[in-house]
Subunit: 246 residues, 2 copies
Amino acid sequence: MRISLSVAYEGTNYHGWQIQPNGITIESVLNQALSDLLGEKIEVIGASRTDAGVHSMGNIAVFDTDTRIPAEKISYALNQRLPQDIVVQESKEVPADFHPRHCNSRKTYEYRILNRRFQNPLRRRDTYFYYYALDVEQMRKAAQVLVGEHDFKSFCSIHTCVETTVRTIYSLDVEKEGDVICIRICGSGFLYHMVRIIAGTLVQAGSGMIAPGQMKEILEKKDRSAAGPTAPACGLTMMGIEFGGR
Amino acid sequence: MRISLSVAYEGTNYHGWQIQPNGITIESVLNQALSDLLGEKIEVIGASRTDAGVHSMGNIAVFDTDTRIPAEKISYALNQRLPQDIVVQESKEVPADFHPRHCNSRKTYEYRILNRRFQNPLRRRDTYFYYYALDVEQMRKAAQVLVGEHDFKSFCSIHTCVETTVRTIYSLDVEKEGDVICIRICGSGFLYHMVRIIAGTLVQAGSGMIAPGQMKEILEKKDRSAAGPTAPACGLTMMGIEFGGR
């Protein structure tokens, strides 16, 4: 049967999702724990290959197994074998042809900025600490320009090759709660570093370095150097994925 | 001059505030960093001697120095020398007779419970993970019984000797935000483990093991065994202290 796992992790101590020749990754730890638990060689397929230091509340990993353990019990058994910074939130059976990257989906990410005078040691791992006061209203205005289908070439790391840089952003909200500014972005898929470059550009909008009206121009330039810097990985969390009809 | 520091820390990796013969503490790290920075032997006095694993957003440390560094600049210079899990939030001059433990004050603590089916790896250090669903309304009703001046002997660790176990709780609120239940308690002072025993007892109220009506009886028994267990240190954060007239 084919099993889908919803996986939460703190990415601080991992070299990202995808197996690397050197360095421990979420994928390699999951493969090892699943293979040990089920007594067969397991290789998961991940929905989102998050970068080093990026967190998740609900990345999806899919694998095939001959086990007799009921699908929904695998989460509990697996968590016994996983380190504290990786916790499976749900396990369930999915159709045999389900593939987490080859079907229509809506992915949601949150980028969190801690905007205050001094670092908060309790939030240093899952937020990006930014000292200068940010204007949330300006960030919101700038964000709205990016919603919809656009060529996001300016918001894509140059170290990438994809067929097309056109993507659709369904929603892009900026909320402030206490001293944490949360950028919540939902889309069909994202280019390499796209969410972090959007976050870095919205920080520039919030600090007055870019006017919200310039966002359209940045998109149209189709040039990475037109957008802001790539914001640090620690602020980014993959929140979850909804799969639609295939 | 006498300087007061507001100190935030993640307590996970410390043996509490107070200097110990074995094990690193917040107080010892502060003394070392301050002595190195100022070139004189510094020994801070802390307002709240938090236990091992307890966090802070605003514990107060006071010391005397002959330095010419302006009081408000000490925070920035000191943070350069402190580890990432201790961050001074403010430094200021206080009157020469100011003592953080010998004056009227209102201390606020938060005890946070992560109440969901699976652990959230991003909140594992600053919340207490509790699997069974808690009824916040029952917790609130139980909490209200404790507000005011009472003999809190039932809510005090037996490993303690104090002149009196009478204390005043000014407010005790229970709020739920997402899957985190926050118990916020404000009082003139607290007995050893008092906040964690109150949290452990409110968890029992929230899970139906204790009826809110029993809280009065627990207080009146003046017996530690009448109250609930001491909740784990990781859920507790010292939020701040307000000093009144002395």
